[in-house]
Symmetry: none
Amino acid sequence: MTKILIAEDDDHTRDALREVLTMEGYEVIAASDGLQAVDFFRAENPDFVCLDVMMPGLNGYEVCKQIRRQDEKVPILFLTAKAEEIDTVLGLELGADDYMTKPFGVKEIIARIRAILRRTASRGGGRADDDFTMDDLRIVPTELRAYRDKTEIQLSPRDVKVLRLLSERRGKVIDRNTLADEVWGVDYFPESRALDQHISQLRKRIEKDPAQPRIIRTVHGAGYRFE
Amino acid sequence: MTKILIAEDDDHTRDALREVLTMEGYEVIAASDGLQAVDFFRAENPDFVCLDVMMPGLNGYEVCKQIRRQDEKVPILFLTAKAEEIDTVLGLELGADDYMTKPFGVKEIIARIRAILRRTASRGGGRADDDFTMDDLRIVPTELRAYRDKTEIQLSPRDVKVLRLLSERRGKVIDRNTLADEVWGVDYFPESRALDQHISQLRKRIEKDPAQPRIIRTVHGAGYRFE
DNA sequence: TCTAAATTTTATAAAATCCATAAAAAGAAC
DNA sequence: GTTCTTTTTATGGATTTTATAAAATTTAGA
């Protein structure tokens, strides 16, 4: 189970986060100040860290440095009350993976954590940038390429996102909304056919017979599936 | 049509939002203060709420709490004039889905609203999509499939709805009106035979002997039943 | 700035499915 | 058994959804 360390001095926020993340199926360790956070990190070796910037004693930046001294890979998400603090987070080159300004919605933070974990899983021992296979295709995200035997297929970053999403939930139907959300994000217009087009183009390149796709299958009225 | 409730005391902003969102094809209800917003919410039951934080009388946070008391799912987007305003309240507790700081661009807010609606439409659709069994059939909603031993049976989203409804109230007779309401929605013609047609087609696929249905049984003059 | 590649829009085609109709079958009432 | 009502199902046109080609636009590099 994915273990998440939260460092947040405000009791309310901390409890809310703990509850929400536990509900989501994560194991949560919660620290109420920076020193405790560093201790907990050493003891528990979590897969993900959520750091409030403003904390008594050791602040979030300091905690981040301490953690990075020990583990340069674990994903770190900063929580800040003020947008201006973001600049500091970015400027210090602390190796933060993302940041959020308060207040944040439950869904928002869950989505971010999931996204970061997916993105960075390779560093933490998972496999987001790791190669994966779909049917007889070997996808190598770091090269933005796929291989079928020795033949190379060029892929765009977006291609990789689509394929990874389908691959991660093989057998499950990925509906168009989810695909739009995860791959295109906020700037996707529902009446656009960009998604179809992209799938179509991608199939042309990766499927042996694009008319009979084996990798990206259509589930009419629902979305796409791979298995 | 998707109904959006706006609560915003500034006339100019409110009118602009109303116009823009109407142009986008949403039905807009606009309140100019918090009390009115709560009233309108009760009366209109909108699909989305846009709340200004600073409002005379009841502020946005209070309105949010009131709304959440009544509906814990409806997506809520906060509008704030200053980032610092946010600091005082934790979005987590209020169950806000997102927030924006003014001034915001038209495109930006539309994109956000669309994205939130997209997310909440596909995920928080409400009902759990856990697997369930009916007779010797195992239905897996996330895959839009059912399994009998190892053989797969493809299901449409509508098939799953029908089956889930029957399964949830096993033993009870589901009358045609209920079925039509729950599965087809408000706009269904009572004299239509579409429902029969659908049941017939579904039986062909899921029943071993469609002439002697064991999963979807007819209760003449009443509806259908599963047990 | 120019060029090439990637992406999106537009337009049209193709596919899947939905549903109205009508005829047949089954059940209920008498 | 006859008649009336309800349900089933075959058929084909309508509608919705998805696919693809071509053009337009945007993006990234040189």
